[in-house]
Symmetry: C2
Subunit: 409 residues, 2 copies
């Protein structure tokens, strides 16, 4: 049997990106109202200037700024009101020396004018005349053509995940459809002779399925389309047949369970017997999650995850989600968290990147994070957890009272 070295998380991720650097996820054109959360597969350039006319940012009077030079309450400038601009309508007057028109916020500034005086600094003398008691400088209280977005400007970059405001921005520049990556397809397989469907009565020795449900939901949360969710016995031919079928129409296949080096370790063998290049990482310096398998069969990704629910979730977060983002060329840098004070010591595993599930409780204005401990394989370890903390491989542990970053899970 081929033996594998244990890789660090960083090395394993690097291998993952090397093996899938040329993976081409299909793209599709999508209406912007349905594109929220999707990843752009192309840069978006604006075909228009925003604004495409000079807009006032206040309710006021459009003027030639020079006409207001030196204006004050004791010595106002007097201007002749030659009209009013209506919202949504073109300004069809042209302003000459000592003339003005009223312009509402967002209204078009007429030609000739170069600024707007706020209505608060004016006094209406009669229907046709106002006094201005404060000077304005050129371009004051207005947005010039293209000040916001210039024609030809790159507004959004490929790999960007569309947020609500980006949908609004696309609308505002008249773009109704965008090119996005298709959602990656994924199949989730759990192996185990003891696992039965939740609809079944679990007999003595049997347990109801947890991993295919958790991992399928995680895959959907990470923006994948789940095509299959299945439990198979720990048996070479059954797993071979199902994996082969799943590889036909999925970008990613996850197999949980059966990846520890024991009598029933068939996952790696099945993967390697289906196609090249096969398993390229077997064993990662991560706790929990050491027996993790990263593999490629023809061009598709196959992950072997531990069977323990906590381990499976952590390995999904660290590797599967990483690849999902990578093949969509998505920016993965920002990661939000809550800072909390640790309520008891955590010892990390020597030389392993350690992940510890924690609960969160607020005491006065301070969040407190408490490790969720329990025997291996307990379900409540994942249901009680509000998040996890990550401890670097070169860190020996964290002491009670230290501040930690809790990442939501």
């Amino acid at each position: 049997m081929k033996m594998f070295n244990v890789h660090s998380v960083k090395e394993a991720r690097k291998k993952l990106t090397e093996y899938f650097s040329d993976y081409k996820l299909e793209t599709e054109t999508m209406d912007i109202v349905k594109a929220q959360g999707r990843i752009l597969a192309d840069d978006v350039l604006s075909n228009v200037n925003v604004p495409h006319f000079r807009r006032s940012t206040v309710d006021g009077y459009a003027v030639i700024s020079k006409d207001t030079n030196g204006a004050s309450e004791s010595l106002p400038a007097f201007l002749n009101v030659i009209g009013e601009v209506h919202m949504g309508m073109p300004a069809n007057k042209i302003i000459s020396h000592d003339e003005t028109v009223y312009v509402p916020t967002g209204g078009m500034i007429p030609d000739g004018a170069d600024s707007v005086v706020m209505v608060e600094y004016t006094e209406k003398l009669d229907e046709d005349n106002i006094a201005i008691n404060r000077p304005v400088y050129p371009k004051e209280n207005m947005i010039d053509i293209g000040d916001d977005i210039k024609e030809g400007e790159k507004v959004l970059k490929t790999g960007f995940k569309l947020r609500p405001q980006d949908i609004g921005v696309l609308s505002s520049i008249g773009i109704e459809k965008v090119l996005v990556y298709k959602l990656p397809t994924i199949a989730v397989i759990s192996t185990g002779d003891e696992i039965v469907d939740p609809s079944k009565n679990a007999k003595a020795g049997q347990i109801r399925d947890i991993n295919t449900y958790t991992l399928s939901a995680m895959a959907e949360e990470a923006g994948c389309i789940l095509t299959k969710k299945v439990v198979v016995e720990d048996e070479f031919q059954r797993l071979y047949d199902i994996l082969k079928e799943c590889l036909k129409n999925n970008d990613i296949v996850i197999i949980s369970g059966g990846s520890s080096v024991g009598t029933k370790d068939i996952t790696g063998k099945v993967i390697n017997s289906i196609g090249e290049p096969g398993v390229f990482v077997h064993g990662v310096a991560i706790k929990p999650g050491k027996p993790t398998i990263l593999a490629k069969v023809k061009d598709k990704a196959v992950f072997g995850l531990p069977g323990q629910p906590v381990s499976a979730m952590i390995v999904f977060k660290v590797f599967v989600e990483y690849l999902i983002k990578y093949i969509q060329r998505q920016d993965t840098k920002t990661e939000y968290y809550i800072e909390a004070e640790l309520t008891s010591n955590i010892h990390s595993a020597q030389g392993k990147e350690t992940y510890q599930m924690v609960t969160l409780e607020k005491e006065e204005r301070q969040w407190k994070a408490s490790p969720v401990y329990g025997k291996s394989g307990m379900i409540t370890l994942i249901s009680k957890a509000k998040g996890f903390i990550r401890i670097d491989a070169d860190n020996e542990g964290i002491e009670k009272g230290e501040k930690v970053k809790v990442i939501p899970i």
Copy 2:
């Protein structure tokens, strides 16, 4: 005209909860595989013990712990192997003094035995005999019946938002359907004579719609069903007709634009003319977002949001999202963020809770947050922002170099 006092954010939220404390969102029964992200409308109790049989947490030999007392490498305990437990099968042997059976990880522990010795601490002598070179204490390496979840135990509480692992936990206790709140329905109306659909050619003085697209997408992101998205002119009767129609089949209606106290301030009047109790907050000590309207018409919620895209987004986050969570009785305490160093001073508005959009850039290992500034109403203020920071009303501002919490937007 009825005059309103400006409320603090806290006071305004308190009024919101008072006015909608008895709001009853409908509920529905849902298959767990579709329930991710939904809010439980009832507590979930377990009908079963987990595990429902005594499970081994290791590969090893089930023993009577007393039989291993004092065992060591130099003086092992010798036991008679009377069988093997298979995964998913009942353990059909009963262990007596000096007997043992092999049990895999997750396998059922036979009656009579009270602990498991890890296979690493045993030596196989022949087919029927092993030596044990380390003692175990009672219940070592096993999970007892109900250790994880007890029959009748409350597993998840009403108001809880279902995460992937919760779906897994529900599956593991044989619960296939849960009672959840129906998604709140919402309609988004923008007012403005100058606003045209993105499909239209915007003429001089006109701008393309941004707010209905942004706010609709935010509503969907916050877990609502969008039933209508419409732009209307700033005209009493048109807004009256559309609002009345939207109130029939929505939990929440948002109107953006037209809520500042000016010539075109018709939103408040239209709301009050449709039904009681009408507007109960008009004006909030928040920047941006001062002209915010909170209202109730019969039993439905109506929000008047400012027309500026940044203000509309902030007010949505602070009040609309707050109500969406409140009517689902959702826990709203945890809020994830990134800690960053501010790159320039921010002056907050005296006595107002101030929200400032920022960009984020990573320099070495430190995130840097820079305020996104621009003229009022500029679109790029929202597209460039990665998040916002919140400054309390009693805080005069934040200086360059200070650490701030950036909340994603």
